[in-house]
Symmetry: none
Subunit: 228 residues, 4 copies
């Protein structure tokens, strides 16, 4: 599964040296934790230090911060797909499967998706896009099942839910992941209760998608450029 996450490795099936592969994995792990704890702006030297390699080694594996963010984001989404797939397979009630995914989001470290929402990720990059489609697909099947079973309100979309979860499990800036612990499971539960059918009040507007957000971001960015 990790094998699909490659930057320079396994180009044309070229097997990379064992120690190089090990370094790559250690860098990704270190980066994931560092992103969660310090945000996407953490010094790369800090990541190198955590991984126990020289800073230039980080650059060999990931030419810049974007590439590193990309690697981490792909790894996290793969993990999420795994969790969701398993939940869907093991839970009879689709709403329960969704709940499990949401509640578990702290454990599979959806928080490491933070940089995905920062300026450092390119959501349109093909592999990111494809992986996100696969994640969406499994979440969507949960949602469809739960709506059909009458346990999930029908006016929400898959991105509605994923975005709300991502917001709620996002650590406060400069605070680190632990700062969420006292609240996050309560917040997620409030959200799940709000998602239950029947809907207590209608939601304003229609279900938007991540693309809508991206459009806004791009607009905002261009406005910012103009201002300068």
């Amino acid at each position: 599964m990790q094998a699909t996450v490659n930057d320079k490795s396994t180009v044309a099936g070229l097997r990379q040296r064992a120690d190089a592969a090990r370094n790559r994995a250690r860098i990704l792990d270190a980066a994931q934790d560092a992103f969660i704890e310090h945000g996407a702006d953490v010094p790369l030297d800090e990541i190198a230090r955590r991984a126990g390699v020289g800073n230039a080694t980080v650059y060999r594996h990931f030419p810049d911060r974007r590439a590193l963010v990309r690697g981490v984001v792909l790894a996290v989404m793969e993990r999420a797909i795994g969790v969701a797939t398993q939940a869907l397979a093991e839970e009879a009630d689709p709403f329960e499967a969704l709940s499990r995914l949401v509640r578990d989001s702290v454990n599979w470290k959806i928080g490491a998706l933070c940089p995905m929402l920062s300026e450092w990720a390119d959501l349109d990059e093909p592999e990111i896009f494809a992986t996100r489609e696969r994640l969406d697909a499994v979440v969507q099947s949960m949602i469809d099942g739960a709506k059909a079973a009458g346990s999930l309100r029908t006016d929400v979309g898959s991105d509605d839910i994923m975005m709300a979860v991502a917001q709620l499990v996002r650590p406060f800036p400069g605070a680190g992941y632990d700062s969420l612990q006292p609240f996050v499971h309560r917040h997620l539960q409030l959200l799940l209760d709000g998602l239950r059918a029947p809907a207590r009040t209608p939601l304003p507007g229609g279900p938007p998608t991540l693309e809508d957000v991206r459009r806004e971001c791009i607009l905002a960015a261009s406005r910012r450029e103009t201002r300068q």
Copy 2:
């Protein structure tokens, strides 16, 4: 009301110059938006640029980042108190008052409270503390009324709600406030639906407070220092 938010201004009744007052307000506004969009670590030069003043002018009004954070946090809380007080006075149903406060949070920019949870804020500073008590008091009276009226679930606390709202209306990093528009009102409505009595499922743990979060943040920071 804003008059209580002063750092160097109106000390001992000394009227400050009109242009200085104007600059101070512009800096606060710029800082508020910049904190929301980029977090508490945004370069002060960026804030100066947005405010249309030289960087040293920022330092004249606010001797360091802490002072600037303090000014923004105080201003936001004052605004929130105003909104909440008015809602409480005008709405017959206390849950409706709470809903109005929550829905309006995008307008009074609760997101600017983010830096309050960073290392740059001192929640124990007297004026901050007093203002927070006043805000808590009015929110708490909403909550108490709504619980008494049987419209709000009884297992939530005031900080539960404020924190969840703050998370949901926080813009994506580097994205700007507008990026939330497609989602934010839906998310807030989902939250409000989840807050309705009767509670559909129990919340895990007991209602925590901002202090619990602060404690975690400080612990994390000290752990970070230790590691180095």
Copy 3:
């Protein structure tokens, strides 16, 4: 005596306002102490603070740091001339008069001449030059008398002595004037003992003058420019 020390004041005999004159004196006093304690690079705002005036008032009286340095240097030299003249008049033995001037140099704050030796003073400026000539004259008469009396070695010049004194009473950088107290009077006494006739060993070279130093400084500066 102070009346000769003027920058913009008493232009064409125009009497300045009493409060302006008072401010000017306070600024000079504050600058003198600040220069002694912190060196010629002390912030002008600090001087304004000590003088109890606004910073712009300093600029009104002294358009830039050079002018302020000039004012202080002139005042100190005037004081030195006074001390020397009096010593010459009161002491029968000219070497004793010289000793008194040297020993007293700490009191009349020759240390405030520090900035004269920094990049901030222009020794060729007419009034500075003239005042220095007057000081040299009185010192020279002491020296001539002492040499004639056979108590001062004959191979020293007036600038030899003044420079050595200035060096010995110069506070250590960043240290302030008090740091000298434990040593300075011993050092000055060692110097005076070394000046006694008969000379125990000949001095290398001939007696140089301040101008020789200036020539070296200018050469060094031009070399520095070239290097860049």
Copy 4:
């Protein structure tokens, strides 16, 4: 001998790269001259420029100004120890050995010890302390010998002499080392003549030590803090 002066180099026998060692030496040399010419507050960028390296390279070798001051002070003291030891070994007359050390002080650049008296040096740091003890020991043995031989006045201490020498060979601020040439050897000779036995006049007070100066400096600094 220089080998004992290391900060990061040769830790646990780890050989550092040749170019890094070269840079380190060039930075130390440049810093030494810059300290002599401009004092301990000279911009580090200026030092980097003189050394022909980027400013960040200075920071790599010396994490802050204190470390750089420490490196320079250690190097100078080592050099002084070398000169003094050799003089003591080669000169039969101990006063002559002392004279040679004093006259040579311009060459071994005792002036670079200035920052030792600023806020940037920590005289209690173990290696500094130990090196100073070694320097004191050799100077003291000169002095003891010369006193015993009846050629040095008995009321002076080792720090008396070293401090006076340091003062006399200190270049004028902004002037560069060369500006001293016309005077410095004459001043040093005057001092040596004043040091000869028998003493022509008694010295005021008792022989103080560097520690006395440090105490004054620290007191002055604290007073300065208090005033603010």
